[in-house]
Amino acid sequence: MVGGPARPNDWESVYQEHVAPLYRYVYSRTGNTADAEDVTSTAFLRALPRLRSDVSAAEIRAYLRTTARSVLADVWRQRHGTVLMEFDDQRDATQPPEREQDVDVSPILEGLPANYRSVLEFRFLRGYSIRETAAAMGVSVANAKVLQLRALRRAAATGVRDVEG
């Protein structure tokens, strides 16, 4: 269906086809349900009335994402006073749509020291508390707290280098 010949769209079909993928996309950039729901809603309410009836599914997908990104940028600007930097948009654009449900974080974790990788896996992927993380890693609570911050900052620095390089 992607990129196929345009059949006239009605918004209900567009909604059905795109709501779950767009939500996944937004969730991967918000990491919490409340923000993901708000941004997805706003994006659909803004984008659907402006869609022409003869555009392809791929164009709709791109337009919804662009709209969602601008809503996300507003959220970041208002909340954290910063511009949302899309350090992996290039990768997104080339990813076939059926792959987008796999949020692949291995590029983020790759190349980090083992203890940094561990602390991020325990905290974020498994949702361990600091205390549980400390116990699992055999370090003190204070240590685990600091470790998670260092690991994130290192991963962030590596991500930015990747894009520049």
């Binding site: 006239p8 769209n9 009605d10 918004w11 209900e12 079909s13 567009v14 909604y15 059905q16 086809e17 709501v19 779950a20 939500y23 996944r24 969730y27 991967s28 950039r29 918000t30 990491g31 919490n32 409340a34 923000d35 729901e37 997805t40 809603s41 659909f44 309410l45 659907l48 009335p49 402006r50 869609l51 022409r52 009836s53 970041w76 208002q78 909340r79 954290h80 006073g81 910063t82 930097m85 350090f87 449900q101 949020v103 692949d104 974080v105 983020i108 991020l120 905290r123 974020f124 992927l125 498994r126 508390s129 707290k145 998670q148 911050l149 994130l152 900052r153 991963a155 962030a156 991500g159």
Partner: protein, 224 residues
């Protein structure tokens, strides 16, 4: 820990608790915050929209398409479902929402007074469980709506408390399980129906309710 450390730690805590991160300048940590967001979003089971959300947004879109002139000028239109078109629904909406259910949500028009479905909505706590014990009626004002919340047949319900005649705010009379209009000799039952009298009035619109953390919440417009 420095101020920046504490700020980033708070950001992480919110994400892991599935809360919106608090408002705080990102400083040098904006990339770290975005990495944290990506990592958290990759945890198993987080990235599927809930059926309730998919439902609710479908309703909002339907309302918007019915009422906003912009929608009719654009090329994109509503369409009644054809049986054949539904095959893709189950496949594409992997949220566990059934095709039948989605069809119902999308095509059933809100009929009569019905339930208030604000276009942009938010849940607001308006009463405690005590307030809505059988025999009580709690008045509230939220999101620009005047309403009452109470228990009827073991179910917590809310109604608009604005008389459908001339807009006077109704006065609850718990002893009689009625809402009286102060402007005319007129009353409504807790089902929302007007009592037979000199006036033939539309029923009161219902307002959605839910119980959250020991409070009774109602779904009201988020604009105000």
């Amino acid at each position: 820990m420095s101020k920046a450390d504490r700020r980033l730690a708070r950001f992480i805590r919110a994400l892991i608790a599935n809360r919106r991160p608090p408002r705080a300048p990102a400083g040098d940590d904006f990339a770290a915050m975005q990495v944290a967001t990506r990592l958290r979003a990759a945890h198993p089971g987080g990235s599927t929209p809930s059926p309730a959300f998919v439902d609710n947004l479908a309703r909002q879109l339907r309302e918007a398409s019915d009422h906003e002139p912009g929608w009719t000028e654009a090329g994109i239109r509503r369409r009644r479902f054809l049986a054949g078109g539904l095959a893709t629904v189950a496949a594409s909406v992997a949220a566990g929402i059934g095709a039948e259910r989605l069809r119902e949500v999308l095509t059933e028009p809100a009929s009569g007074a019905g339930t208030i479905q604000p276009y942009i909505s938010t849940w607001v706590a308006v009463a405690t469980l005590d307030d809505v014990k059988p025999g009580r009626i709690k008045q509230f004002s939220a999101g620009g709506l005047q309403g009452v919340v109470f228990t009827l047949d073991g179910e917590i319900r809310a109604l608009s408390a604005v008389c459908t005649h001339q807009g006077c705010t109704l006065v609850p009379e718990p002893a009689q399980s009625k809402l009286f209009c102060p402007c005319h000799p007129m009353s409504f039952n807790l089902t929302g129906d007007a009592n037979a009298g000199d006036y033939r009035l539309n029923p009161l619109p219902a307002i959605q309710t839910r119980v959250n953390a020991g409070s009774v919440e109602v779904l009201v417009p988020a604009w105000t």
